[in-house]
């Protein structure tokens, strides 16, 4: 079993993963002159603006034209000298520009890092037009694309710093809302490696993104009822850490996946593929089950759709009834 990284201790901090992205980019800009940043008129929101102000010669704003931005990023990366970070909201980065990501970035396997913010329900009040719930599906479907959903600001920062040296296309899914920092400062991100954040053997809860802190809280609720849940952060959805998932299936006998995303094609499907391949056990999938979101405060939305700690704990108890 992969050793748990030390969790954050002391005062509870809440930071949005997009903010960590902006800070990491700024740091990268100072370290490497081959880092180029593209945005599509959302640099204040995606947090690429600070990079743009510090390194104006390496920042390009494409206006509201995401398809062209991704195609241009691919052309620039094709020269083999630069790493391009291209940002927009997840809805537009992966929705409007899906074909450019497939044809121009992933087919020729070019060094473009798509860092998309405002993913999922926690966009909040902007509502369903902006609550991207299908991006993991769209991105993991494309060969060569690596898909990372950081659990908190610590991991977002580490993943962005790692991505610059990961060859080829990378998708990093980031959030608008400030969420609890759970990982300690010495956490090390490694592509394709999940981490056990809490040990347990009654069931394993596999989560990604903003659902990881919710899963940890759910495990506490379950523990109070005498259920000992393992909590795994599967921040790399593709390539999946099959070994960690297989071990969890063998040792816990039931797996619950949790994601702020449609369950069709998302983390749940990716985990299910590993479980079916290595060690079939009963599974439950918490996520959006074939419906769009709606306007509302982020935490209210998570509770409404059963994506908060309470909702996850309830689904865990249901799953345990099916465990042999």
């Amino acid at each position: 079993m992969t050793l748990s990284p030390p969790l954050a201790t002391g005062e509870v901090k809440k930071v949005a993963t997009r903010a960590a992205y902006g800070e990491a980019l700024l740091a990268l800009g100072g370290q490497r002159d081959d880092v180029i940043v593209f945005d599509a008129d959302l640099s204040g929101s995606t947090k690429t603006k600070a990079f743009g102000q510090a390194y104006p010669d390496r920042f390009f704003n494409f206006g509201v034209a995401e398809a062209n931005m991704m195609g241009t990023a691919a052309g620039l990366a094709s020269l083999g000298r630069q790493v391009v970070f291209a940002s927009s909201f997840a809805m537009f980065a992966t929705g409007k520009a899906w074909e450019q990501l497939r044809q121009c970035v992933c087919v020729p396997n070019l060094n473009v890092k798509v860092c998309a913010t405002h993913a999922g329900l926690t966009v909040g009040e902007d509502g369903k037009s902006h609550q991207m719930l299908e991006d993991i599906t769209l991105m993991r479907a494309i060969p060569n694309m690596k898909v990372i959903v950081p659990a908190d600001a610590t991991e977002a920062r580490a993943a962005v710093l790692a991505a610059v040296d990961i060859p080829g296309p990378v998708y990093i899914r980031l959030s608008r809302a400030s969420t609890r920092v759970i990982l300690g400062d010495d956490y090390r991100f490694e592509l394709g490696r999940g981490t056990v954040l809490r040990d347990g053997t009654d069931l394993a809860i596999c989560a990604c993104g903003v659902e990881v802190p919710e899963a940890l809280d759910a495990a506490e609720l379950l523990f109070a009822k005498g259920i000992d849940a393992r909590v795994i952060n599967l921040s790399t959805v593709d390539p999946m850490d099959e070994e960690l998932v297989a071990t969890a299936a063998r040792e816990c006998g039931a797996i619950l996946t949790v994601e702020e995303h449609q369950i069709r094609g998302g983390l749940g499907d990716a985990v299910a593929q590993a479980v079916v391949k290595h060690c079939p056990v009963p599974m439950g999938m918490v996520g959006m089950d074939g419906e769009f979101g709606q306007s509302g405060p982020p935490n209210d939305l998570l509770a409404h759709y059963g994506l908060d700690a309470k909702g996850i704990a309830a689904r865990a108890e249901e799953l345990l009834q099916r465990k042999g």
């Binding site: 241009t72 620039l76 990366a77 450019q100």
Partner: protein
């Protein structure tokens, strides 16, 4: 600088050989797109043989020119010209579209053959070319980036996103050559969806733009020379006849994406002055 009459004759001979290769490749593949590349053969020959700084020697040179075939389905002629430049063995041309071939049905980025980018989905090429032009500038090189497009390609919205940004970033090292033949798969472009005056459109987007007879090698050579000194990106609207050089394929949508049979190949080769 103008082309000498000897050089003009050589270029015309190369263009004819490219046409022979095109019909032979599509015939051997039993599928593909002969009409477009036949119409483009004259301007592609002038570009590849006189202006595009790409050779077997400078493939790895970051300062060499780049090329993107925005209308990727016309790649038979592209491959034939890469062969003429020594980048693809001539025998390999007949593997076009076959299983295991490097010569895919639409171009796939293959640096060792000088294929700089993957294309095939219309509308995507100009953005990629603009990215290369931006990169060339960032890298401090004099590389020029050439991209083909077409009247049908110009129906894609992304072309105009790219045209907007290329002008905004003043990418004077970018040239698009638009193959304007008034033919697309479903029929006459002006009847399917008329893109109208592309020179005026590119000018309105801030480009340096001009109309050229796409079969007049002298005028094409001049246009390519001028683009190197432009202050803004250049759009060369090359007016061509689809299928040019093979009478029964000219000015018709019927040969946009159909392969000639043995008999038709023989007729085409005879007309092109080659034996079957």
């Amino acid at each position: 600088m103008t082309l000498s009459s000897d050089r003009m004759q050589e270029l015309q001979a190369i263009a004819q050989r490219v046409r022979v290769d095109i019909v032979s490749m599509v015939h051997a593949a039993k599928c593909g797109h002969p009409g477009g590349p036949l119409g483009m053969a004259d301007f592609m020959t002038v570009l590849f043989m006189e202006h595009l700084n790409l050779t077997t020697e400078n493939l790895d040179d970051p300062g060499r020119d780049r090329f993107v075939l925005g209308n990727g389905h016309t790649c038979a002629g592209y491959y034939a010209l890469l062969s003429a430049k020594g980048l693809i063995p001539h025998d390999e041309l007949l593997t076009f579209r076959k299983l295991g071939s490097r010569l895919q049905g639409h171009p796939h980025r293959t640096p060792e053959m000088g294929i700089d980018f993957s294309t095939g989905s219309l509308g995507t090429g100009l953005s990629a070319a603009a990215g290369m032009a931006l990169g060339a500038r960032l890298n401090g090189t004099n590389a020029h980036v050439y991209c083909t497009s077409s009247d049908g390609d110009s129906q894609e919205g992304q072309i105009w996103e790219a045209a907007t940004s290329a002008a905004h970033f003043e990418l004077s090292n970018l040239t698009v050559i638009v193959d304007f033949n008034n033919i697309q798969i479903d029929g006459k472009m002006r009847e399917i969806m008329n893109v109208r005056d592309l020179r005026a459109k590119y000018e309105a987007f801030g480009w340096n733009a001009l109309d050229v007879d796409g079969h007049d090698m002298e005028a094409l050579d001049q246009a390519f020379s001028d683009t190197r000194n432009a202050a803004m990106p250049t759009a060369i609207i090359a007016h061509t006849i689809i299928g040019k050089g093979v009478g029964f394929m000219e000015d018709t949508s019927s040969w946009h994406g159909v392969a000639p049979d043995d008999e038709q190949l023989a007729v085409a080769l005879a007309e092109l002055g080659a034996t079957g």
